[in-house]
Symmetry: C2
Subunit: 131 residues, 2 copies
């Protein structure tokens, strides 16, 4: 089965599948957040399905208001924890730190939702005729 070979896609496909810009994927490559698994002879970035999965995970972490560097650290922590179990106290402290931030973020998202809903009502009042 040669479908292992075919699983590599160019940056355009990766961008389409993840709904991100080419520039964003190139930037994430530059800072080391998602390095494509391979390059073609001509230097084209070639993304594997695992790469795309990682991109989607990162995309889903964006609303947490973490910097790219923090996302990178957090992904590394999760990987280490998966690989070796939680043996290091330092690792556990960092993970707990990010759990706290995630909880804060969830609270903020809930407030944001309330505000957005309220704004929608205000706008509806400002444009009452049915569209």
């Amino acid at each position: 089965m040669p479908n292992n070979q075919k699983a590599l896609v160019q940056i355009g496909e990766a961008a389409a599948q993840t709904d991100l810009s080419l520039r964003t994927l190139r930037h994430w490559d530059d800072v080391g957040l998602v390095r494509p698994s391979a390059r073609s002879n001509g230097g084209f970035r070639m993304y594997s399905q695992a790469d795309i999965k990682r991109i989607q995970v990162i995309k889903s972490m964006k609303p947490l208001a973490l910097s790219l560097a923090e996302i990178q650290e957090l992904l590394g922590l999760i990987e280490s924890a998966d690989a070796q179990g939680v043996e290091s106290r330092k690792l556990e402290r960092r993970v707990r730190h990010y759990m706290d931030r995630t909880r804060v973020c969830i609270a903020r998202l809930n407030r944001d939702l309330d505000y957005a809903t309220e704004l929608l009502e205000i706008l509806a009042a400002a444009a009452p005729t049915k569209g």
Copy 2:
């Protein structure tokens, strides 16, 4: 009652009451989003309670992913609608445009919440010992 006079506060108080940085308030002043009602003789920004209310409204609009210029336009639209009713078709079109964006944003916030909750579970699995 001279409490009308006393209702003006300096930028530090305004920042404390809204939980924003001095720099943010100065920036919003620079771009014309929130101009303090007055300046002291020495040039200090003096914010009224109405100013602070406006700041809080704007702060609550930040999660909608609007630019400061768009927030400014939207606030202007709501004011016009309040003042003259919805007489202009153009005004109504813009308001509806922002309603759509708000709906999109609400959908995104809900997805973000799901992701954040999921991440919290992943992190909890990575740091299972009780803190």
